[in-house]
Amino acid sequence: MDRSYPRSRKLASVVAVAAAATLTLAGCSSSSGGKDAEEGGANASAGKANTPRMTVALVTHQAPGDTFWDIVRKGAEAAAAKDNIKLVYSADPNAGNQANLVQNAIDQKVDGIAITLAKPDALKDVVSKAKAANIPVVGLNSGVSEWQKLGLMQFFGQDETVAGEALGKRLNQAGAKKAVCVIQEQGNIGLTQRCDGVKKTFKGDLQTLNVNGTDMPSVKSTITAKLKQDGGIDYVVALGAPYALTAAQSVGESGSKAKVATFDLNKSLTGAISKGDIEFAVDQQPWLQGYLAIDSLWLYKNNGNYMGGGEQPVLTGPAFVDKTNVETIDKFAAKGTR
C-alpha cells in the first residue's frame, strides 16, 4: 500500500472499526434459536453412481423467488448428484420464453430434458424438435392431461386441478360450509386452477379473494377484512405456505372461528400444523417431482426403463399433511425437501 495515498489510511481505519465491531458483536450471540439450534441432519443422498457423466436440462415455468419451485429444484439436484448428472436449470413464467429455454437446451445437445407443461401449446414445437434431435423429454408438475399428446416419454406430478379437487373433498369431510380461496397473484394460471379444483368438489360455498402477494401486511389486513365482512366463513384456503401462515394470523386477529388449510409445505408450516394453527396442507411432493424426473432420464439412458410403464403418469400427490403425520414430515420440511 502506498503510504502517501491518504485513502489507504482511511481504509485501514475502516477495517479496524469493522474488526472492533465484529468483536463487539461476538458478545451478542443469541442463546436460543438461530442456526446453531438447527439440526445438521444428513442429506437424503444414496451414494453416487459411476455411470458416464451426462447432462440434463430442467426447464420450468417458475417465477423468481417461488418457494414451491425451489423445492422441485432441490429434488432435481439431489437426483443429479446421485446419478452423476450435470443439471442445467432454467425457468421463465412466460411460455414463449420457456420455449426458448428448451430450444437453448436442445442447442446445447443435452442428454435429456425435463419440462413443465403449464401452457402445452406453446411448447409443442420445441418438444418435437427435441424428439427429432433424439433427446428424451419427460414432463413434470403441470400437464398431466397433455403429456401424452405432446409425445413426452413419462410424466411425474399432479395437476393443480386434481390437487384442488382433493382439497375440496377434504373440506367436505371436515364439514366446512363456506370457504374463501386466497389468490396471492391475480391471473396466475396455476393458482386459479387450484381454486377451480376446490370449487369443483367442494359442496359448500367457495369465494375467492385476491391479495397483493408482494406485500405481506396487505395480505394480512385483506384477509382480516374478508373475515370481518363475512362472518360465516369457516375455512380459509391459502395457495402457498407463507400465505397460510399469514392467514392464520388474520384469523386470530379478526376473532373469526375459521380454520386454515393450504397447498404446499415449508419449514414453518409444519410447525404451525403441529401447533394446530393450520388444519392441514395438501402436498404434491414437489421434491419428488424434481427427483423422479431427473432420475427417470438416468434410468432410461442407463437401463432403458420407463417409469409408469410409459403409459400412465406417475402421481406424486395429493398427499395430505395434518396433525396425524406431521411429525414424520417435519424434519424433512426443515431441510427444505418437503
Binding site: 458483536l25 451478542c28 450471540s29 443469541s30 442463546s31 436460543s32 434459536g33 438461530g34 442456526k35 446453531d36 439450534a37 438447527e38 417465477a63 423468481p64 423467488g65 417461488d66 418457494t67 425451489d70 432441490k74 389468490i183 391475480q186 369465494q207 375467492t208 379473494l209 385476491n210 397483493n212 402477494g213 408482494t214 406485500d215 405481506m216 401486511p217 396487505s218 394480512k220 389486513s221 385483506t222 382480516t224 377484512a225 374478508k226 370481518k228 365482512q229 363475512d230 407463507p242 401462515l245 399469514t246 394470523q249 386477529e253 379478526s254 376473532g255 415449508n266 419449514k267 414453518s268 410447525g271 427444505g336
Partner: protein
C-alpha cells in the same frame, strides 16, 4: 449586520406598521376558507372522506371500530414509507428501489441474526446500516453522475431484487428466511416494531402510532426547520439553492438515506410480525408509495407538497383496498375497482383545488 450601521438608502418608503398598511393593489386577498381549500392536502382529505362515506354506506362492516383499525394498519404500512418518499419527491427525486429495499432490510436482519446465532438486535442494527447505506449509495451516485434519479434507482431496484433472491438462496438454501421467533431479543423488537394495543376493545397496531408520530415529525421538519426549507429549495430550483448556499448534495443524499430509514422500519415491522421474509416480496410497492405521495399533493417534479398529504394519500389507498373487500364485491374486478376509486378520489381533489383557486 445591524441596519443602523448602513447608510440611509436613497429610495425609502417609510414602513407603515399595523393595519392599513400599504399594498400594491394588484392582488386581492382570497377568503381564508378558499385558501385552505386550495391546499393540496385538504383536497386529498376531502377525497378520502368522500371515499370513506361511500364505503360507510355501501359496506356495513366498515362501520365497525376494528375494521377501521385494520384499514389504518394497512394504511400505516404504506404510509410510513410514503412519508420519506414524499419528502424525497418534494426534494425533486424518485426512489424506485424503495419497495425492494424494505425486503432487503428485513432479509439482512433475519439472516444475519439467524446464521450467526446472534441477538436479534445485532441484525436490526446492521440492517439499519445497510438500509442507510443503500440510500447513501443512491444519493451519492445521483449527485456524482448527475443522472436522473429514475435511472439510478431503477438500477438499484433491479440489483436489490436480484441480490435479495440470490443471497437468500445462497445463505439459507431456500427462497425465504428461517423463523427467528424463538431467538433472543425477538420479543423486545416485536414490541417496538409489530405489537398492538387495545383502545376501547379495538385492537390497534403500533405501526399506526409510529405512522402518525413520523408524520408529525416530518411536518415539523418540513415547515419549521432549516432542513425543511432546503428540501423545498433543492426540489424547486437546485441551481438557485446552490447559489444561495444551500448544501444541495447533503440535502439530496440525506433524503435518500431517510427513505432508507423508512425501508428499515417497515422491513423490521414485516420481519417481526411474520417471523420470516419471502425474498421475492416488495416488488411494485415503490409505485404505491409514490402514488400515495402524489395523491397526497406532492408535486411529481418536486418543490411542493406536504407531509400530511401523503398520510391522507396512504389512508385512501388502505381504505379503498380494504373497502372493496368489506363491500364484498366480485374479487375479479378488484384491481379495476382500486383504479376507479383512486382516480375518482384524485379527481375530487383536483376539482376542489380548481374551484378554490379560481379567481
Amino acid at each position: 449586520m445591524s441596519m443602523t450601521r448602513q447608510a440611509e438608502p436613497a429610495v425609502t418608503t417609510p414602513p407603515a406598521p399595523g393595519p392599513g398598511r400599504q399594498t400594491d393593489g394588484r392582488t386581492s386577498r382570497r377568503s381564508p376558507a378558499l385558501r385552505l381549500l386550495a391546499r393540496p392536502e385538504v383536497g386529498v382529505l376531502l377525497g378520502a372522506l368522500a371515499v370513506l362515506v361511500f364505503f360507510l354506506v355501501t359496506a356495513p362492516p366498515v362501520r365497525d371500530g376494528s375494521s377501521m383499525a385494520n384499514i389504518l394498519y394497512q394504511s400505516s404500512t404504506i404510509g410510513i414509507m410514503a412519508l420519506p418518499v414524499a419528502l424525497l419527491m418534494i426534494g425533486g427525486e424518485f426512489d424506485l428501489s424503495a419497495g425492494v429495499a424494505v425486503i432487503t432490510s428485513a432479509l439482512t436482519a433475519s439472516m444475519l441474526s439467524y446464521q450467526l446465532t446472534m441477538n436479534i438486535w445485532v441484525g436490526v442494527i446492521v440492517a439499519l446500516a445497510v438500509s442507510l447505506g443503500i440510500g447513501l449509495f443512491n444519493g451519492w451516485l445521483l449527485v456524482k453522475t448527475g443522472l436522473p434519479s429514475f435511472l439510478v434507482t431503477l438500477g438499484t431496484f433491479l440489483i436489490l431484487q436480484g441480490v435479495n433472491l440470490a443471497v437468500t438462496k445462497l445463505v439459507t438454501g431456500n427462497v425465504a428466511t428461517d423463523d427467528i421467533s424463538d431467538m433472543e431479543g425477538f420479543a423486545q423488537a416485536k414490541a417496538i416494531f409489530a405489537s398492538s394495543f387495545d383502545i376501547g376493545g379495538v385492537n390497534v397496531k403500533i405501526t399506526v402510532v409510529w405512522w402518525l408520530v413520523f408524520a408529525a415529525l416530518a411536518t415539523w421538519v418540513l415547515l419549521r426547520t432549516k432542513y425543511g426549507n432546503w428540501i423545498f429549495a433543492v426540489g424547486g430550483n437546485k441551481e438557485s439553492a446552490r447559489a444561495v448556499g444551500v448544501p444541495v448534495t447533503f440535502t439530496k443524499i440525506s433524503l435518500f438515506m431517510l427513505v432508507g430509514f423508512g425501508a428499515w422500519f417497515v422491513g423490521m415491522h414485516q420481519l417481526f410480525s411474520f417471523n420470516t421474509v419471502q425474498s421475492g416480496e416488495g416488488v411494485g410497492q415503490e409505485l404505491i408509495y409514490i402514488a400515495a405521495a402524489v395523491i397526497g399533493g406532492c408535486l411529481l417534479t418536486g418543490g411542493a407538497g406536504s407531509a400530511i398529504g401523503p398520510v391522507f394519500g396512504a389512508f385512501m389507498f388502505g381504505l379503498v383496498q380494504q373497502g372493496i373487500v368489506y363491500a364484498g364485491w366480485n374479487p375479479d374486478w378488484f384491481k379495476a375497482f382500486l383504479g376507479v376509486m383512486l382516480l375518482g378520489a384524485v379527481l375530487i381533489n383536483l376539482w376542489v383545488q380548481r374551484t378554490a383557486t379560481r379567481r
